[in-house]
Amino acid sequence: MNVSVITDNLGYLLAGAWPDGPVGGLMLTLILSAASGLASAAIGLVLGIALAMSGGRTRRILVLGLGLLRAIPIVMLIFWSYFLLPVLFGFAIPETGTVVTALSLVGGAYLSYAVAAGIESLGRGQWEAGLALGLGRWQVLRFVILPRALPAMAPSFVNQWTALIKDTSLAYVIGVPELSFVATQVNNRAIVYPAEIFLFVGAVYGGLCLLVDRFATRLAGRGGRKRRAAA
């Protein structure tokens, strides 16, 4: 094992060419993860609520679209947004934008099922009680259903975020200089120490996923206790 190939290139692995050039490496991985994590949570909430509240044709179209997003490999989706977004908007979009778009759509599609399932799991009694109090459907959702359903969904969101951190590595296929891509660059330059480089990079991703998992689980646990104490 040769550690110097890691220590010599640590700055490049962590931040890419920054501050002399664009941000890359682990820092870009974090940026991509955070952006697609937030966007996928928003998409998941909106589409999940739409899925739970709609019926008939709207619901069928929604189910079809979400099913399609979940059936396409993320690599394909990244290629699609890479080639399609410039045509749609008429000007070039930075590669990072296309990656965030693809990952947010996939993450949002998975989360919307979790959100819809969380809303539907609460049972009709809650809805009927709310409606009996004279609230409208959306008011019941806002004041009765979501405050109880959202905390229960927290684990799904955390799982999706750790999955997204891993999936940012797919930005590699269109040359976005995130951690996996700069690792292959370092590997191409050093040539003789691929095991060291990729095991190190794997450990960084593993540590990151574990950190998010622990942190989010603790946050969710504390929130749960507070709510129980208040109830």
Binding site: A71, V75, F79, L84, K166, S180, I197, V201, A203, G206
Partner: protein, 244 residues
Amino acid sequence: MNLFGDPLAPRYLIWLLQGFGVTLALSATVCMAGTALGLALCCLREAGGRLGGAVTAAGIGLVRNTPLLVQLFVWYFGVAALMPGGLTAWLNTPHSLPLGPVELRWPAYETLAGFLGLTLYAAAYIAEECRAGLNGVRPAQRAAARALGLTESQIFRHVALPQALRIAWLPVVGQYLNTLKNTSLTMTIGLAELSYAARQVETETFQAFQAFGIATLLYVGAVAAVEAIGHAVARRAPAGAPRR
């Protein structure tokens, strides 16, 4: 602007179909090997003693918490560099075994690395689905079997396992679907499957929409077919499925 352009020349369609064939063959072998390994890991984790259980759990956690892409790079670049030179040379030269009319060819190194990486990744997830299935069997079931005088191994074989497999089946089908989609990552180590072929066709023809459109349709069709088969098998399972 014409989005679609002229239809793709037949030879490019053949490239895509060949890639699709590789994707299907790779997915099928990975699913079979991953299921066998996943079941073994699940047993080791549940019944391998404290040390065996802990080591298995750590290994599964490691595989599940790192990107598949990085794992493929470790198997493709890393292991190749760590192997003794003679073995690397042997793996990189073609070998074949003539068996009458057919000739068995030893797969190229990227195929081996891709197969190994995908199988370990799938096995780690399948092991966890099986464990969740075992935990989903209600404790009263084991207690009832014990009261009937069954031994622990009989309880596992005749009571816990059939119910666990039924609970775990659809999640495992979900992992088969993930495997099918994950084979697309092997394009990064040069395995000529569907995504690789699509990229190749796009590079040669500049007809991105057709190349990726056809590839996407093939993926969606395969995913839909596997999902339909998985649900059909679940419906055909014998009556008496566990109530939840």
